[in-house]
Amino acid sequence: MARRKINWYKYTSPASFYPLAGKVIPFFAALAAVLLVVGLYLGFFVAPKDAVQGEAYRIIYIHVPAAWMAMFMYLLLAVYAALGLAFNARIWAMMAAAIAPTGAMFAFISLWTGALWGKPMWGTWWVWDARLTSTLILFFLYLGFISLQSAIEETRRADRAGALLAIVGAINVPIIYFSVQWWNTLHQGATLRLGRSASIAPVMLAALLIMIAAVWMYSIAVTLMRVRNIILERERHAPWVGELAGEVK
């Protein structure tokens, strides 16, 4: 061939996607590790302590990235789900299934760190503010998706049912968020905000953005690892898997 053109379509086949994912995972993992170290260093050793909250505010460097990732990944889940329903290539549904557990984990981390931040700051382990409550509901949406897929044995039905649920859920997320905001402002006189109302120091912002990037790279690496497992499990009778298995022993 005179010119090398990348045929992207071939990567929608699980057998071709598997080695491609395998090649890029170490790259994302390394990036995640580096960004994590830099971000934590900036957040703990360079950024000063907060005037009001003291050292406890540093939880923000894991709480915000986790919350952001949980929301972003749910959107991605819905996008992959839609692609899976539209294009009938199995790889999209596999990606959706691969994202869900990591997204759910970050939703949980967001809730956990939110509680540990709230206790010293506001005296209670849980505050029913709009963002925490919305994150809780997001966590339920993830759990629903995972439960539905594990309750269905036929792979094709599990993929498509999960996809429909994810899309319905994603469409509902703005409605849910708006309702929770309304509910929250009606029921509380003083609005408790977990965010920072004053302007944020540049160092803190930098550390925060780097941590978000770190968690993002981690999520990509882990999702690709999981999708490779899913591919192996679904294609287990294919000869290429047999060859691969032979190499393991």
Partner: protein, 222 residues
């Protein structure tokens, strides 16, 4: 299309009437759950009045979830659902008919029963009326949203619990505005904004749910 709609509603309602014991159990569940709260919380009327909107609404929500099973599973088990999928009529119309019948049989009794239960909680008459309106607008929305979950979980083990896990997060906005409307009424404020938002949600659900449910039925049945 209207003829199909009317036919489906009549069929489902007749079948439900013949098996009405099952239908009444939803209503009894609603009544019992609502009555449990004073037993758990204490008889003080001020407290009861405060929690009444939330209690009645959550009980209606739960009763709605539990009754979702009957929307499709009877037809699924005896094979008539398969036949319904094959009719030349648009599936979403058939589905809408089933949802309407389901609401008439499970949701409407709740709406009628709720003001009576509201009396147990010493709600003022204005609030009782708002309760009626909010449930009248809200329970059809719950049936519509629930239908999608019922269609997705057709024939699966785990039954009512799985459907509830899937559908309850999606019903939270209806709960917030439904209970919020009654609460506003109790304090003397206007419940108009809540009720209009409930109405808007009902309209949106009416537009999307039958179509999504039909898609879910196809996914579950292929």
């Amino acid at each position: 299309m209207l003829a199909t709609l009317r036919w489906v509603i009549q069929r489902d309602a007749t079948l439900a009437w013949r098996g009405r014991a099952g239908v009444l159990s939803t209503l009894f569940f609603f009544v019992i759950v609502v009555s449990l709260f004073p037993l758990g919380v204490g008889p003080e009327l001020n407290v009861l009045r405060t929690i009444a909107p939330g209690v009645v609404w959550v009980a209606a929500l739960l009763a709605s979830m539990l009754s979702l099973d009957r929307m499709f599973s009877h037809d699924y088990l005896d094979g008539s659902l398969e036949q319904l999928l094959l009719t030349p009529q648009p599936l979403s119309v058939v589905v809408l008919g089933k949802i309407v019948a389901h609401w008439l049989v499970t949701g409407a009794p709740l709406v009628l029963m709720a003001p009576v239960l509201g009396l147990q909680f010493d709600l003022p008459p204005g609030a009782l009326l708002t309760l009626l309106w909010s449930l009248l607008l809200g329970t059809p929305a719950l049936s519509l949203i629930g239908a999608v979950g019922a269609a997705l979980t057709l024939g699966l083990r785990g039954g009512g619990v799985l459907v509830s896990l899937l559908v309850l997060p999606l019903c939270i906005p209806v709960l917030i505005f439904g209970a919020g409307a009654v609460e506003a009424s109790i304090t003397g404020a206007s419940a108009e904004s809540h009720l209009s938002l409930l109405g808007a949600m009902l309209v949106v659900a009416l537009m999307f749910a039958p179509w999504a449910t039909a898609a879910a039925l196809r996914i579950s049945m292929e």
